[in-house]
Amino acid sequence: MSFDVVGFNFLEGLTHFLKVFGGVALTALIVSFILALIQYGGRGPGLYFKTLWQALVDFVHTSPRRVWAITELTWKESARKKALFVFVVFAILIMFAGWFLRDSVGRADLQLKIYVKFVLTAISWLTLPVILLLSCWGLPSDIKNRSLHTVVTKPIRRHEVVLGRFFGFTLVGTVILLVMGIVGYAWTVGQMPEAAKSELVGRVPVYGDMTYSNRNGDRPNFDDPNNLQNPASAATNVGDVWEFRSYIEGGTKSRTFYDFDNIDVAAAERAGQFRIEYNFEAFRTHKGDIEKRLLCRITIVNKETGLRVPLETFEVKEFSNRSADKTIILGGTDEEGNPIETITYREENTNEVKSVHIFDELLKGGDITVEVQCLDPGQFLGMARPDLFIRMPDRPFYVTFFKAVFGIWLQMVLIIVLGVTASCFVKGPVATLLTFGMLVIGSGFSELMQSLAIGTSEGGGPFESAYRMFMHLNPTVSIEDGPLKTIMTIVDQAALGFLWTVQYLFPQFEYYNMVPFVANGFDVPWKASLLPSILVTLAFVIPCLILGYFSMQLREMEAK
């Protein structure tokens, strides 16, 4: 199990949001001003600023009671139009799923993976389409049936209708998700075999920064960020898993260093143990006895005191996936149940046997380095950043399970806001297609769009490429410097800037996929998963509601 869990860079995210939101908003303001001038002539600017001012007034005077009235109406509508029928489908799935999924491989960790993936996927696939259809068809059907006429002729502001619909569908979806989540959780726990119940945890990993030293023991310049991002630059490339994982050579001074700062030693001490989990890959240059494992060692170094404690050697087997084999536990309890607080080790230089207190000495200050070395000459040990982590006290399984449900909820909210906004200016089927399209593009094409917008482009941008095609120049032929090239470069940069903005108009739905964490027994991390999901949802909710307001405010309910 490997996650390259990288914390979300809030500042960078905010900058992107402001750039995209600001760019789109500015464009919309300029275009609408020009349109007002064209349509109303001299009166245009006055009307334009009056509309903007009115928007401000309307938002300030938003009435929660009226919004709640529409919210309740939406709830009643969904309930009476049998939207909650989705529970029946879920119940049928749950009733019979156990027959097909139970004990298919006999491995506890895989059993958990199967159950969790099934339950959370079933919840997503049942909830999201229902919510998508409800949110895309609600307002258009009100407009078509003209029931909205009796509403907007009351002293309700049109954005209150949009808000009410948004909250109403969110309420419906929340209830559906909550019920399904509770039932799904109870079902998962109930289905897990007794022997595998220990897998029902939310492991909390703390990842360190990883660097290598070469076979002579030299470490690269740590100030160069490239060395941190590209492990292959320091360690050995054995031709396997090129970018993600790199290898250290056994029997040399080559080591991997995992640096951890500010570890919560107190929490580990309360739990009575300090755990390190790893998942290294053995790469043999000579096979020999295939049953023989690679001999490795981990040394824990206290960065503050310089104390070095080499731990017992351990073996790494090829093709092993059992996590129990890959855990080092310092502390814990002895056979009589007494806590173990010290560790005995042989000092590297003197070979003297010493004892050290785990929490008060070895982990003192919380800044440590874990050094990994391979002791078998001629063999290689492969590692990536997420291959070793400190396992902090586990969180209960229900916490991590419902965090994943919360992830589905955030995704649902985003779909609702996209659907409701789209339904403010187009009819139901178009709104459905539009929202579904955004969902598909945001789920599977964000990397492609990113590579188009910011990736390297052989042969230049769209205009330069067109020029090359026209002139029969292949991408490797350089174009002579001159005004033409300058113009093409500028225009291409503008086009790429536009593409860059456009790619962010599609929400990245990958953030919401928290199922792998739960399925693999990990807690859903706040900074790497929950926070970006919340922020992506918020980043779309606010502009969408503004767009929804103007769409409703400026549209004629009875336009022919």
């Binding site: 309307d58 009435s63 009671r65 009226r66 709640w68 009235a69 309740e72 109406l73 009643k76 509508e77 009476r80 139009k81 049936n145 003209r146 029931s147 909205l148 006429h149 009796t150 509403v151 907007v152 002729t153 009351k154 002293p155 309700i156 502001r157 004629e556 309910m557 009875e558 336009a559 022919k560």
Partner: protein, 311 residues
């Protein structure tokens, strides 16, 4: 005497419907100007496509004027606050069909931020007023058209409005429902409220409206008080008790003496609506009563009570 204030002022109002590309499709309204005064019942008449519903929708802000201005209570039609004083009954009572009558009124009451107690009070009173006590817990999708009109009217009155806009208020109602609706409209006027209605049913308009405007092709053709517009300026009508032939001859002689032409003398007839309502009224009071004789000679329920009528 002070002139009543204008509740609605329409000035040079025009509406052009355009297609997606902005090309002119149809001009629904051409420079309409009119006022509606406080406390009157104002009727908008015209054939299909004359612009009366467009006018109504422009008043309500459902459409935006191409040119011209609409003010209600001194505020522009686009102003949401003006809706506090307005009740609107749309042509087809476009309500939420999955709600029942209680929920419908409660929902619309909440849009006016009316307190819960007050909503309940008004809801009960209005349901009683429109005669839907027996069906208040049934979803509107189970309602007949007449019942839907009644609950539609009730929702239009939930805020106790000063101005009520009624689009085809009697459409789809049976004669009793029509009579009730007209009575309620007259009640509203008696309470000092202003009513604007548009209708195809000219008799209904004549019965209740103080003033009317007739639109044709989006233009205002006629406007004024109903009684003045309909009053004949060249004829007189005298109503007396039944005259003998002798007496009729004398009347003609007198008329000739004053150079007045005698046109016709006939017994006045009641309206069909009067006959229908009277029949229902008597049938409710005396369930066995019939007005059909064996030789199929009709007797009228409108005949004086002392006149013999067969059972």
């Amino acid at each position: 005497m002070n002139q009543p204030e204008n509740v609605i002022e329409i000035r040079n109002l025009s509406k052009v419907y355009r297609d997606f590309w902005g090309r002119k499709k149809v001009q629904a309204l051409k420079s309409l100007s009119l006022d509606v005064k406080k406390g009157e019942i104002f009727g908008l008449l015209g054939p299909n496509g004359s612009g009366k519903t467009t006018t109504m929708k422009l008043l309500l802000g459902l459409l935006f004027p191409t040119t011209g201005d609409v003010t209600m209570f001194g505020q522009p039609a686009s102003n949401v606050e003006k809706n506090e004083k307005i009740g609107y009954l749309p042509e087809e009572s476009y309500l939420y069909r999955f709600l029942n009558a209680d929920e419908t009124l409660d929902f619309y009451g909440r849009l006016f931020n009316i307190s819960s107690d007050e909503r309940k009070k008004r809801r009960d009173a209005l349901i009683e007023r429109v005669g839907l006590q027996h069906a208040r817990k049934r979803q509107l999708k189970e309602y007949s058209k007449g019942m839907t009109r009644r609950i539609g009217l009730a929702q239009a009155l939930i805020n106790d409005p000063d101005l009520v806009l009624l689009d085809e208020p009697t459409s789809g109602l049976d004669p009793i429902g029509t009579r009730d609706m007209k009575d309620m409209i007259l009640d509203l006027r008696d309470q000092g409220k202003t009513v604007v209605m548009c209708s195809h049913l000219l008799a209904d308009v004549q019965d209740v409206c103080d003033r009317i405007a007739i639109l044709y092709g989006g233009e205002l053709k006629v406007m004024g008080r109903v009684d003045e517009l309909l009053k004949s300026k060249e004829q007189e009508q005298i109503l007396t008790s039944t005259l003998s032939d002798e007496a009729l001859k004398d009347v003609k002689a007198v008329l000739a003496k004053h150079n007045a032409e005698f046109i016709s003398a006939d017994r006045p007839t009641a309206t069909l609506e009067d006959l229908f309502l009277k029949t229902i009224q008597i049938s409710q009071a005396q369930p066995g009563k019939r007005f059909v004789t064996e030789d199929d000679k009709a007797e009228s329920p409108l005949d004086p009570a002392d006149k013999p009528a067969s059972n």
